[in-house]
Each structure stands twice: as C-alpha cells, then as structure tokens.
Symmetry: C2
Subunit: 137 residues, 2 copies
C-alpha cells in the first residue's frame, strides 16, 4: 500500500503538472487544490525537492514548480522515495537490499527467488505509470 505521504505527493505532482509551464504554485494553493493538509504538504514538497522532482522559489511570490517532465516522473520513483522498497522483502530489493536475518544462508532463502520475480513485474508496471499518464483528458 501507498502511505498517505506518497499518495499526497502524487496528487501534488499531478496538480503541478496541470498548471501552465511558467506558473509557480504556492503550498496553500496546492493544498486546497488537491485536498491535502497544508503543514503535512510542506514536508512532502521538501522531500520532492530533495528528490529533484520539483524546485522552489523562496520569499514573497515564491512557490513550487516541476523540474522534471511529467512524462518522466513514475509511480515507481515516488513510491520508492516515500515508502522505500518495491519488493515484498528487503532481501529481494534492488534499492533497499538487506540480508534476511532469519535465513541460514541467502541461497537457502526460500522466498527470495519468487519475490524477485514479483518485484520485476511490479516495477515494470510501476515504471509505466507516469504523472502524464494519470492526467485525464
């Protein structure tokens, strides 16, 4: 499941992607437009900034804007940024790998292989869902 953070992040990105290219959106504007608690959204936007999806302009008339094409922002990236691994266990993860503590050896881990198959399928599907693809015509 997606955390609220990840869901809100997607909605915020969707909101930004729907604005004019040059438009800078204030947090309060995004919060109201996408129905997200404003203070919570502040944190999320900072995370998105640190992840190089958006950038910001400070001070009066400041706000947020996309710096990555809506065609290039995928569900996989946002999920990873806010929720971590896409794989079902850390031992099957590409980006958040951790050895399983309750298996004698990695080879003996009975679940790893199957979960890597799931990970590959899920990742492929998630990389096909972009912000652009979510925008309804």
């Amino acid at each position: 499941m997606l955390s609220h953070k990840a869901k809100y992040a997607l909605k915020a990105l969707l909101y930004l992607a729907e604005q004019d290219e040059s438009h800078i959106s204030k947090t309060i504007e995004i919060a109201e437009g996408a129905n997200i608690p404003k203070k919570f959204l502040e944190q999320i936007l900072l995370d998105l900034k640190r992840g190089h999806f958006v950038s910001s302009k400070q001070g009066k008339f400041g706000g947020y804007y996309l710096i990555k094409s809506k065609n290039d922002i995928t569900l996989a990236e946002i999920h990873r940024l806010f929720d971590g691994a896409i794989a079902l266990l850390p031992c099957a993860s590409l980006n958040f790998y951790e050895r399983c503590t309750d298996c004698k050896t990695e080879e003996e881990c009975s679940l790893r292989h199957g979960l890597m198959i799931i990970r590959d399928e899920t990742l492929k599907a998630m990389q096909n869902i972009t912000i652009a693809s979510l925008i309804k015509k």
Copy 2:
C-alpha cells in the same frame, strides 16, 4: 512489503509442504525448522487454519497439516490474509475496497485508474507464485 506474519506464514506452509503427506507437524517443529518464534507462530497457524489452508489435530500427538494443495496456495492469498489489500490504495482494491475520502468524486480520483492497472499486473504475478513453485529442487 510483506509483514513478518505473512513471511512466517509462507515459510511455515513451505515447511509443511515439504513433509510427507501423512505427517502431522507440531508447532515447535515448524518453529525450529523454519526459524520462527514459537508463540508468534501459534497465532499464525490459527490464522492459516481459519483461512482453510491448514487443519490441525489437537491433544497429544496433534499438530498441523496442509489441507490445500501446495499447487493451489498462492502468494496473493497469503498476502491478502495477513496484510490485506494488494492494491496500492483501498479505492483500487478488489477485496478491500474503500472509497477514497479525499477525492471529491470517485470519477475525479486521479490515481484510481492507474493503480488498478498496477493491481491487475501485481495480482497476476502473485497468483503465479505458489508454495509448490517456491520449493527448490
């Protein structure tokens, strides 16, 4: 991600599937064989029993045994039993559907459609991973 419960459940089922048909496994035997905390495993086995994956014999010489073919127990079922929805949000779920509270209308939910695509792909993949398929030769 899978919860520990789901992971332990899979390992326990794998353990049972590897025993002789007629063999009844005690909890302590499964716990030691699959490296699962015994008291925690008790709860998990009861859940698996309620889910009609295993059955049990009480009293002395009692224990647990599979009542569903290892070819018919899928990762999807176990994940759902212990962790709930496979979909990334409740509004995109088949078995754990809930209306999104922060969308004005269901139609307007910008994420739902994309997440249903992911759900279908993930579900299909998870239904292909069975206990039998996880057993190494």
